[in-house]
Assembly symmetry: C2
Homo-oligomer: 470 residues x 2
């Protein structure tokens, strides 16, 4: 596996003064070389050291993005799109230098089509902002990574979250994109039609391409009617295995559950402390059911029955919207809760995803290894998808802890691959998983990806050094 | 728009004797140059004239496919994958000559994983064969183009059908592929995990690429548990508009209907005659509800209420599996029923798909234009997706009828594009829609597709002349 520090030592292509001058002429005070601004744009939520870009351009329109990319291309200098910086995989680090394109000001919800359940947004709109904008229409957008990420960033990493088990990921929920290509051209990748067989699926080629094939400047998404009935429940289990087995069975039965999240006792403990909750500190499932009144009751009854068979207790219901929001907010903040539990620590997060029948084996062995290691850790997971995050909390100054975490990560990923899974369910490859990607998909497939990259970005200026090196 | 006869006059690259010799050595009597075999592989269900390949290789394994592609590449000769020949867009015509790869013998269901709701098949397995193979496990595969197409062909055209409104298309239901590349290498594009952020989405790049980026040699698909309750209903309406308005409202309300198909009076008439049914010959919706017993009743009650408001009559229920099968078989055979209604005719089929709110306008104006034209026509549609097929029945020897049908087609597609839709919801671009593709997505997007094609297939041997010309 490539360690991040090896990647960051890749050849730098610093912006020459002529580029700074051209950017300054085009963007005036919307381009910054201040160290604080550069540092802020050269880090993310990953445990890696800051790798600042040479300058940051605050883009306000597609034309701005196109102009910035064109200037960067003329000078052979990288460009790195930036949303809110919530990547967990080092996507935003300027490992080869270059210009960060801050798209945070492109934050308009451009067009809501409630009659078609679609919306078009600028890339800097965040998931919470979008949901605020469509709530009064009785609609919602389900994809919810922990952070309040931007829709552009979420599309770029093929993000998912807690609702994916029912509503799919960004792969299924992006209808069309506007993209600035490596040459500064602006293309559209689809229409608002629900389905299409019109040529290559450029939308899904861009979704998950981590900024390496184009800069996303507009996103057209599916929306969903708020369900007639929503109810959230907590179920405590004697062991992680019991919670996982319950999950496997509900998925195999085809229960259309909207959310089913695992928290191990460590995660519950951290969340309790950080969010001032008083959840019992045992492994638990946090669930949500969507549907008609009777449909929700039916689903819950089936799942409660399965849970009982595995020693799960009676559901505790969150009946009001406020209670539900409190619980889900706590879940979304688990990452920060985990870090707060050990001040000064960093988190090495895993993101494997396996076929549902393999989940018990995948998580069970990872728990044993983590326990044996002596490292602090916790587990959360979108277990209905077979996706689980073991987060190792390490002292960044202790190389032994780094190494132990990386060894556990490697073992966990190799196990997931052996169980026919993937090294990353939703975070992306970024800097850290490049070796895993090759193990997962084979050198020939990665070479096909490189061929696509070379074809669409011959100068290698779009977020170079991410996913793979050329 | 490019007329098919212009495309078929593209430069031919006939197989030299040295290639025939090499194929003969490698494949023995599994390669054929017999005219009848070549003719059979140079046509499909489109109205275009036969364009036979120079030879047909009957492949029995991935190694066979790789060997054939490698030999073709050495001789700079096209290869065209062939399933059952049910394309409606000329995908199988050897417009530049070359070798047809018949994958019909690669028809094994390789691995069923009921515990994960996945299955892996060879590309020559048909949708009916697959459903037979998984029925005893209480599972089904929903994607159902009218023909009993192969899964390889369905993946290659991003097919859908009557269940897509609830279960999605091949885009959403292919988990992973094995693909033979233009150089004869074999790659895998994914795992059996339900979701992944591991690099570029090669699976979806191949799905819908119509044989132009690789030859699909294995398909891993999602399966679904057979619903606890299924009920099918027919509802007659006074007008097509009333049926369409009812559909729009049920989709906007979020009713999770499994199938909702429009047949206009002409389609009902043709189906009655061809299938010996006695449906009342008015516009109708043929619907199916999946879910729990109570869920199905709830859905049906909502839709019946909407239908009544638009003058729809009381539902007629198909309660037994046999009745349901009879109705859906009739729907699937509508294409042949339409042709049988006018012996000797050919069908020019449209395949537009628009956002659901635009469907009434899209279909309404197309009906008026078709009525005014004097051509025979009928309409069927997967209207829950906004996808509708106006099929013009023409005498192939009458150039005026050809021209009229093409004019209506053009008007219909331009209207769909104006309404933010696509020229093809499920049939693909093939030969016939290449001009439409440019109108829909813009020259820059098509140029990006060409760039991808040149990168992955530098000799342009993979089904050349389809989707676009280079």
């Amino acid at each position: 596996m490539n360690a991040p520090h090896e990647l960051t030592s890749a050849v730098r292509r610093p912006a020459p003064e002529s580029l700074h001058k051209a950017l300054s002429e085009r963007f005036g005070d919307r381009v910054s070389r201040a160290q604080a601004v550069r540092d802020q744009h050269g880090r993310d939520e990953s445990p890696f050291e800051v790798a600042p870009p040479d300058a940051v351009v605050f883009c306000e329109s597609t034309a701005d993005v196109a102009a910035a990319v064109e200037l960067a291309a003329q000078h052979d200098v990288p460009v790195i799109p930036f949303g809110v910086g919530s990547s967990l995989e080092g996507h935003l680090l300027a490992v080869q230098g270059g210009i960060s394109l801050d798209l945070g000001r492109m934050n308009e919800v451009l067009r809501i089509n409630p009659e078609d359940l679609t919306v078009t947004v600028q890339p800097g709109v965040t998931r919470k902002q979008l949901n605020e904008a469509v709530k009064h229409l009785g609609l919602f957008f389900p994809i919810d990574p922990g952070a309040d990420a931007t829709l552009g960033g979420m599309a770029a990493t093929r993000a998912s979250g807690t609702n994916a088990v029912r509503y799919g990921t960004m792969r299924e929920n992006v209808l069309a994109l506007e993209v600035v290509t490596a040459s500064g051209d602006v293309i559209r990748t689809g229409t608002r039609a629900k389905k299409s067989s019109a040529g290559y699926d450029l939308t899904r080629l861009m979704v998950g391409s981590e900024g390496t094939l184009g800069v996303i400047t507009e996103v057209t998404l599916k929306l969903y009617p708020l369900p007639e009935a929503i109810s959230a429940a907590i179920c405590h289990f004697p062991t992680v295995a019991a919670a996982v087995d319950t999950t496997i069975e509900m998925i195999q039965l085809g229960v259309p559950i909207a959310r089913v999240e695992l928290l191990d006792a460590n995660a519950v403990r951290a969340v309790n402390k950080h969010e001032k909750l008083s959840l019992r500190e045992t492994p638990m499932l946090l669930m949500e059911f969507h549907g008609s009144d009777s449909g929700v009751k039916e689903q819950a009854a089936v799942v409660q029955g399965l849970a009982h068979e595995h020693g799960g207790e009676d559901f505790e219901w969150a009946t009001t919207p406020e209670e539900r929001t409190r619980l889900w907010t706590a879940r979304h903040r688990a990452y920060f809760a985990g870090m707060a539990a050990r001040p000064g620590c960093r988190t090495v997060t895993t993101d494997a995803c396996v076929p549902i029948s393999r989940l018990a084996e995948a998580i069970g062995e990872s728990v044993r290894e983590a326990d044996d290691s002596g490292l602090s850790y916790y587990i959360v997971g979108h277990v209905g998808d077979g996706n689980y995050h073991v987060a190792y909390l390490i002292d960044p100054k202790d190389p032994t802890q780094w190494e132990t975490a990386e060894r556990l990560n490697l073992q966990l990923v190799r196990r997931a691959l052996r169980l026919e899974g993937t090294c990353t369910g939703e975070h992306g490859v970024g800097l850290h998983k490049q070796g895993f990607l090759v193990e997962e998909t084979g050198e020939a497939s990665v070479e096909m990806m490189r061929t696509l990259k070379r074809a669409l970005d011959p100068k290698n200026i779009l977020n170079p050094g991410k996913i793979f090196t050329l």
